[in-house]
């Protein structure tokens, strides 16, 4: 029956997803297994997004269903040594308060097995540096929607360089006006056109694709 949960998730059949999670929990299916099925469903969502069968509207809806469906599992998953693909420190850079894209990145990366440390919006440079020291991520994700934030992007990358942390991480950037030229300007490792593309890039960088 696990397959149907994956299908329901992939097809955004909200009520069916919730009742199937409840049913499996009642039947004593291990929460890790249920969570895994939901993740597979999110992979389908990501694939359909990239195939342009789904759009941001479906991505947001999927992320919300995933989050709600996983809630009853969280308590039981705690303490289990759930394997993660890697850790990502994520935030919208200083001076920019846009959070939609950043939140989607957090959800899509989480549902793809990343441990995401979300620092929020308007994140000061030093906070990124401190978080990288503390969490030792493989990936740093920087988001912005304003061209005026390019210098914040640049300052954040430079601060990581100055703190001697740059070589240990891959810096991914994304957001409305960000392109290849921006990536070069701020000396990031890659620019991501959207969240699922970012997951692909990150996985390739970490050799887990």
């Amino acid at each position: 029956m696990g397959e149907s949960l994956t299908t329901y998730m992939g097809d955004l059949m909200e009520e069916e997803v919730y009742s199937e999670v409840r049913r499996q929990l009642d039947e004593g299916v291990p929460p890790e297994k249920i969570f895994g099925e939901l993740q597979k469903g999110m992979e389908i969502v990501g694939e359909r997004y990239q195939a342009q069968e789904y759009y941001l509207s479906e991505l947001i809806m999927a992320a919300d269903i995933f989050k709600k469906a996983a809630e009853p599992l969280q308590e039981k998953l705690k303490g289990s040594t759930g394997e993660t693909v890697g850790t990502m420190v994520l935030g919208t850079v200083a001076g920019d308060i846009h959070d939609i894209g950043k939140n989607i990145v957090a959800l899509v990366f989480s549902s793809n097995g990343f441990n995401v440390i979300d620092l929020g919006v308007d994140v000061p440079v030093q906070k990124f540096v401190d978080a990288v020291k503390e969490h030792k991520p493989q990936i740093v994700g920087l988001s912005c929607l304003l061209t005026t934030s390019f210098d914040s992007l640049k300052a954040t990358v430079e601060a990581l360089e100055q703190a001697g942390l740059r070589d240990g991480v891959k810096v991914l950037i994304g957001g409305g006006p960000v392109d290849e030229a921006t990536c070069k300007y701020v000396r990031a490792d890659a620019y991501c056109v959207d969240a699922p593309a970012g997951v692909d890039i990150a996985k390739k960088m970490l050799g887990v694709a």
């Binding site: 955004l12 909200e14 342009q52 789904y54 759009y55 941001l56 509207s57 479906e58 947001i60 809806m61 919300d64 001076g95 920019d96 308060i97 846009h98 959070d99 939609i100 939140n103 304003l146 061209t147 005026t148 390019f150 210098d151 409305g176 006006p177 392109d179 030229a181 921006t182 300007y185």
Partner: protein
Amino acid sequence: MATARELYEERLNRIKTAVALGKPDRVPVVPLGDSFCARHVGVKLSDFCTIPTLSNEVILKSFTSLGEVDGIQHASFYVHNLSTLWLAKLKIPGRDLPEDELWQVQEVELMKVEDYDVIIKDGFNKFIEKFFYDRLDNLGAKVQVFVESLSGAIKATEDLGIIPFSPAIATIPYEMFCGGRSMTEFLKDLFRIPDKVQAAMDVAMPEIIENTRQLCRALKPIAIWVGGWRAASEFLSPRLWKRFVLPYYKELVQAVVDEGVIPVLHFDSNWTRDLEYLRELPKGKCVFSPDGNTDIFKAKEILGDHMCIMGDVPAAMLSLGTPDEVHNYCRRLIENIGPSGFILAQGCDIPPNAKPENVKAMIESVKG
């Protein structure tokens, strides 16, 4: 030397020829700049965005010093106008931000899910009036300053022989609800309570149409923006776009055309997928104005014989690029999208950190 009146007529004719899909003597250039103009002439953003008369002076000073523009899209700027379109609060320089930082829309769930019922029951204007008063800090009273200053700003622009092209903005219920609810919540509403959202839109629409007609009659502008930002094709599946977006634009655009005003489809983000549907709008009466994200060359291919295209020097090129890059891109636009049915402009808005020499290169590129 031509008088301001003669220049005005010459430039208006150039723009109107382009809108009617004809070939003017040269491609007109009609930029939009607000925060850029303030930085360029050295006025603090905190003053610029809160004093409409100052914004008009600054915009005119900035553009006239950079070359010969045929028109400007907005004659003045007032930050609180953004709240009337987004139904959202703002972060304003000098109040919530340092004096010279850019204003930003604060997207939180200010409109609640129950408000759809209020709109359905009481009507949109009544809802908005109360919403502006209760939740947007008496916004209705605040925007009076702008309303009262607008005719002066328009006249000051005309007096220089420059066309105040599209001095006002209207939009569809989708955009207002999306801003008020916050995009994330609103998109979920489209899945969970689609019929209710549509019912509220259908109540709001005739009132928005009537408001827009009144605006056109009072202001008698050459054009107005019919704005779209979060309704872009890239955000929505076709099923949702065809239900919640397209029919409302068709209706609003028709009303503006009926009033003898040119609707400028100021469409941010990527609309490439649905360009074909814009052929359902009246031919030779509208302007399609993408922001650099829609494929403007594809737009030419699909809409070129139907609708004038305006754009689309990207914000990032104006801030990070060189005058040569800007010139070359503009010439490519002029030669490939124009020379008929094309108006040169930036995509969306000139960003505050654009280099003045890049803006100058854009304005001068129409001369060859």
